[in-house]
Symmetry: C2
Subunit: 611 residues, 2 copies
């Protein structure tokens, strides 16, 4: 299965708005902040007077912004933006060393120490720059950054694969693996695939890597505790893990390596059935931004970094290309519509790094004591973090998610996600009329596909679906309904019932026991006290026997739901006799999770008690 | 109201057993551990070869052990134990400096710096030594330690009150205030009362104290943020706070100072209605062992230090002497029967420092990240901690709690607590037949009290009480039923209904919403997974419509309860449609909270979900 590129998909409705805000607000906001903080100036690799010392991963911030610009420029040409990018690329190329090396931190600060510290993100930065180079070449045909990265990757190949002369064997922060597959798929040059395989296969096997030790005292932090094919649980830093797993899935697809495929599937199962928030957030602990234990998904202390959820989406996208099974698209959809879209404000100008599922402001003083990374524990989105990985990551995924929607192979057209608008490639056209993710009407009009199969994902959240007004003609296979396209132009008019529903978590998930979350379609909803008269949400319980009302919410592009609920009656006493009827009925308004924290400081809960 | 001294009360049943174990196991266990760790040797104030450097509060550990021994010797003469104590006192007295100074850390380590560091516990140690001196003199008539402390207190008076020549004005860890009242009440010497008043009145008023700063960055940590009469909320280190409040209550009783009385009452209300666990634990945060915010009482991360609950009991005891109101005795009872007795194992040999209300072993790896003081976060009691304040504090309160049971004034005899056995003073005798705290039959036989009032506390937990088989003859006044003693020997046969009951917490207490705890009489019960077939307690919910069964439990001296409950059915999926009937009935066995962690490592919960 090949994905239909995002450039062949023209979104309308929900996604058109998000992509427009991304272009008009998010990309310029990041440009402004990166300019102000010296990230772009640092690309010159010269320490000027008054310039801050570059951080070891600033290259990656800039690269992700360039990548986002590339996607945006592809569908929305913008000479001014392109000029901004070109100037930065010019600076980078001019600063590249003769032997190909490029790093905005090491070159001016301690060049003599390059490739000595496994945890210093050099290969991670090279990976992101490679992704940017591929994207920018595809967007503009300009090859300066691409050629620069080819030269740098030749050096990396020489140092790490040919000579094995660096102080370590594999990157302490994975990312280059999946980038090497991207440049391989662009160029067809096997050396990139081989270098990718080298980094993946060497991981967890080399004395040199173990000898470098690790600040966390645990090699699982960067997935170096075991050879990758023996890893059964998602461990360590969640972004590192999921970039690695993405690279593994890519390589497995290219090579058909059964052990690698099996490891990827096992790791996906572990994450999706035991270590993933209902929002698609992953990496529940702030301590090292890590995966922890099965079912350890606390709501108020959730770390759930935006980048980790983005990385999960990337892993799912790649698993789906390896194995057409709706569970991968279901998880990707969970992440994109909830944790990821929640990472950016509705106006596109501010961002979350950490994405808790519960905020209790009156306990915030205490929370700060719990969290290792206080800076990123916010109750409102902000324009910038000193560690600013998430904003440009958001910009690039929003600008390119349309590329996950459709796929094809020789015989089959796949609809993985439901994005209103048109798509066209190889003489095939798909028009999709839908108000997804808010309503379940999903009407495809296909032309030019006669004789092919049309495989439509039936979303995992859907309890009742119809096609052309009748029940589905046969059972889906691994979540996909395979239909014959028999007409030159043919309509497939689906309806996915999308009533708000009460969702429970596995009983082992100790933070969610006795609670439910409300979902409608793929969207997780939450309650904010600020839009509910300041109610203390911990005193609220839902009446799950009552239906939930819904009305469109122009502000968020989603819905507002109204649930019947109860509020515990106030008491002066601290402890008293329990009385189950000691409650008062209220109507509770719920917002999409992605739309919370757009109305000022507020308590918030995704999981709410059941009466 | 005067308390009838513990030496005039001869317990039977529940308390006889606890006091016997305290004497036979706890006091010798502490002696052994303190000997091994060098605490007793340090009393000589000489650094010998191979001796560890004394900790700044070792004097207080030893003093509390001496005090416990004094109480034990009073009722159980034991020449060998008395000899052990005498030897230590001899060492101390020999090491006392000419000017009266004594401190096992400063004398050998940095004498030149004495009285320069407010947070270095010198006055705290002096306070505990004074308490020990008073107790040991009363127990044995021996005045060596008492005379030593009189001399030391004269020095303290000179330095802090006459000259004001120390680097600070008030102790960074309170304790000496209440100790000064004890020696004042023994000797009648006004200078001790005046010094107590000096320390209490100077607190929060002096530049010198503020200038010393504080590691926590917050003067509320040691209650120096405001003059004591202006303090409205319990703040900062909980043991410090409650020792201060105890001293304030003592001084208020001696002086009748209305503003001080009012402050004490306000602080008691704040604690007992907003900042106290159902077990009587206080100081919910490990971060500085502090009080935090109203209703911030997390169960799994409860700090709830044993010493803090002991200090709460001391404060309650003193408030009751100031104001006969059952709320003080209710809080004291809550603390002593739950958090405090839970601080020591049933065999008397091991101890808890931290007393959580929930343990989930599968999350323990995560918990350790949360807690500042990992050493003391235990799931099983241990023999010793490097900070060993709690074990001797437990030994002294258990050895002397009988002194809280009865009180008297010219006209009235008070029964505050219900301890089976006999008491006798001033020609009055009380025999109490009761199986308290396990059953509500409470039968007093009074002799020698004709013409007096007999005031019996009706426990706050009691919903239905009878006297001599009939309903109570009139309403209690502030929780006490005042009865006329009309016979030379008269029986008052009470029955306090003691059915197991479901207790709710104030809805603002966000850790307890949707949950109940089971109590029977004053005892809080809890579920341990180890005695319930290894059930994951977070999957359990109670059927609050069903009655709870009970059987005596010889091991704990309490009861075992059996509650109807449900366990959530297992699922493979992480998220699925909520179904309120997706549960299976079980019988859940509950133990007294004080008896948990006597059956090996186990999950435990006090608060359990309601179905």
């Amino acid at each position: 299965m090949q994905y239909v590129p995002f450039s062949a998909v023209k979104p309308e409705g929900f996604w058109e708005r998000r992509i427009r805000i991304n272009k008009e607000s998010t990309i310029p906001t990041i440009y402004k902040r990166f300019s102000e903080t010296g990230r772009f100036a640092a690309a010159k690799c010269v320490l000027g007077e008054g310039m801050p010392q570059p951080h070891i991963f600033w290259d990656s911030d800039v690269a992700k912004w360039i990548e986002a610009c590339a996607y945006s420029l592809t569908v929305n040409p913008d000479p001014a933006l392109e000029k901004q990018v070109d100037e930065i690329i010019d600076d980078m190329a001019a600063a590249q060393l003769e032997d190909g090396y490029y790093n905005c931190y090491y070159i001016p600060c301690e060049l003599e120490n390059r490739f000595t510290n496994r945890d210093h993100h050099e290969l991670y930065c090279a990976g992101h720059l490679t992704e940017a180079a591929v994207a920018y070449y595809k967007a503009t045909g300009k090859d300066k950054l691409l050629n620069m990265m080819k030269k740098y990757l030749d050096l990396i190949e020489k140092i790490f694969m040919v000579e094995d002369s660096a102080a370590f064997c594999t990157p302490g922060h994975e990312e280059i693996e999946l980038a090497l597959v991207r440049i391989y798929e662009l160029t067809g040059d096997e050396k990139y695939k081989n270098l990718c395989a080298h980094f993946i296969n060497a991981r967890g096997c080399r004395e040199k890597d173990v000898a470098q030790g690790h600040w966390s005292g645990d090699h699982s932090y960067d997935q170096t505790h075991l050879p990758v094919r023996e890893q059964k649980e998602a461990k360590g830093h969640s972004v590192r893990a999921l970039y690695l797993f993405s690279g593994m899935a890519d390589l497995a697809r290219l090579t058909g390596d059964e052990k690698l495929i099996s490891a990827c599937k096992t790791l996906f199962e572990n994450i999706s059935t035991k270590r993933m928030y209902v929002t698609g957030g992953v990496g529940s602990s702030s301590h090292g931004e890590t995966f922890t234990q099965d079912y350890d998904l606390p709501n108020d202390m959730a770390y759930s970094e935006t980048c980790a959820s983005i990385a999960l989406e990337y892993f799912c996208r790649r698993m789906l290309a390896l194995d057409i099974d709706s569970k991968y698209a279901d998880a990707a959809e969970r992440a994109i519509y909830n944790c990821i879209l929640g990472g950016v404000s509705l106006d596109g100008r501010s961002f979350f790094y950490v994405n808790p599922l519960e905020i209790n402001l009156s306990r915030h003083e205490r929370y700060e004591k719990w969290h290792d990374i206080k800076e990123n524990l916010l109750t409102q989105r902000v324009e910038v973090f000193s560690c600013s990985c998430c904003p440009p990551n958001l910009a690039r995924i929003i600008a390119s998610f349309a590329g996950d929607v459709y796929g094809y192979d020789d015989n089959t057209i796949y609809a993985h996600h439901f994005m209103a608008g048109e798509a066209g490639w190889d003489g095939i056209k798909i028009k999709l009329d839908t108000r997804y993710p808010n309503f379940g009407d999903v009407r495809f009009t296909l032309s030019g596909a006669k004789g092919k199969k049309f495989a439509v994902r039936i979303p995992g959240w859907c309890r009742y679906a119809t096609l052309n007004g009748e029940k589905l003609p046969h059972a889906p296979v691994k979540g996909y309904l395979y239909l014959d396209v028999t007409e030159d132009e043919q309509v497939f008019d689906f309806y996915f019932e999308m009533k708000p529903r009460f969702v429970a978590a596995n009983p082992e998930t100790d933070g969610d026991n006795g609670k439910v979350c409300v979902m409608k379609g793929p969207l997780v909803y939450c309650a904010e006290s600020v839009i509910n008269g300041g109610v203390n949400l911990c005193t609220v319980s839902l009446d799950t026997s009552a239906d939930i009302g819904s009305v469109p919410d122009e502000e968020s592009g989603g819905m507002r739901l109204t649930a019947k609920a109860f509020i515990d009656n106030p008491h002066d006493e601290l402890y008293f006799d329990y009385n189950p009827e000691d409650k008062t009925g209220i109507n509770l308004t719920l917002l999409p999770y992605y739309a919370y924290a757009n109305h000022g400081e507020s308590d918030m809960q995704v999981w709410l008690r059941v009466k």
